[in-house]
Symmetry: C2
Subunit: 220 residues, 2 copies
């Protein structure tokens, strides 16, 4: 008998390998050797399936992270942030779009609540005054989700411009394009093009977290 879990797992598989466009009810029911009606019987429509898949992946990413020893608030925030970063950057690029959607449309859902609660507790422990807890946590969450979305590699997604380009080629093409900009009008782009060439996304993400954390101390 077909189970809800099987459907969600198969859906995540399709999403991971081909992006959101690859998750069609037909492809899914073929992979599961059923009719399309069976999908609707178990998980409702495609949109709900996408939400459930998002929930499953995020919850599991945050769970494996939480099984470690307690640390400083800064360290715990870094862990939560990296758990999201790694989950999206490495396997589930489709999450970049979906995670934002989930939080905007369903702020009372488990995904939003879990992320806010995890980050928010540490904000309190950091010494931020109670009246600023909501602002401080929102700022951290906004930064994390923004950075994580911007860093999602679009490898598996066919909707990119040149599908035959790998990550490095894409990067080279970008820096040469920046170098070809008019230096009169774009002095800054020229100034940073050297730094982009040998930077690491993950390191930069951590630097960003450190900047926001440093900024929070001014709220005291």
């Amino acid at each position: 008998m077909l189970s809800r879990e099987q459907i969600i797992d198969a859906a995540i598989g399709l999403l991971d390998s081909g992006g959101e466009g690859a998750l069609t009810v037909r492809a899914l029911s073929e992979r599961l050797a059923t009719g399309s009606g069976a999908i609707y019987y178990h998980v409702g429509n495609r949109d709900q399936l996408l939400d459930t898949a998002t929930e499953t992946v995020i919850t599991s990413a945050l769970e494996t992270e939480s099984s470690q020893a307690v640390a400083t608030p800064e360290e715990e925030i870094r862990r939560v942030a990296l758990a999201l970063f790694d989950a999206i950057a490495e396997h589930h690029q489709w999450l970049a779009t979906r995670l934002t959607l989930q939080i905007v449309r369903n702020p009372a859902g488990p995904v939003t609540v879990e992320i806010f609660e995890r980050i928010g507790r540490q904000v309190g422990a950091l010494g931020v005054p109670r009246a600023s807890w909501f602002d401080a946590t929102s700022t951290l969450v906004h930064y994390i989700l923004g950075a994580v979305s911007q860093n999602a590699r679009m490898d598996g997604d066919t909707s990119g411009i040149q599908p035959d380009m790998d990550r490095e080629e894409f990067f080279d093409a970008t820096s040469t394009a920046w170098q070809e900009l008019d230096p009169e009008n774009y002095p800054f782009m020229h100034a940073i093009v050297g730094q982009t060439k040998q930077h690491d996304d993950r390191d930069q993400f951590l630097t960003g977290i450190a900047i926001v954390l440093a900024g929070l101390t001014h709220l005291r």
Copy 2:
């Protein structure tokens, strides 16, 4: 004779009033009283049309902002950020998803370049050391885009849960849902539920900018 500009304007009209789902080639060609082939003749496919619409709106939002008197670097960053915030929050919620997509897929395009250049120059003027310009600017841009995406109101979008709920009702439903969470497991959510009730999104966005700017001073 049909022009490229007319098509883009009509597309933005459809997007503003009904979200991404409302932009269909059929609806567009009906509004313009042409055949679907005419669209493809002028603007390529739907995806390119979406990119062009994004570019048009963002460029114009940044242009009207730049026509003001020069100010401090902090003020100029706030202006660019608010120009994006207001454009998305008030008229073009569909941009939240599309802007991120544009930057990820086309970092050499005018949208990415314009935003980075505008923010980046001020980062230099702020006294951030040259070696940190890229990290600092990325952090700001990531925060701005993250916050702006999370704040896009989903009024016109039918894909929301209850379309008959207005902004205030939605907010009330969220805070009561947060209040009903188990206080043992979600102490933080209970602590902030009061603050969410009477907070202003725009003010919170500016507070976030201030936090990141404060954090940047530590890079000196």
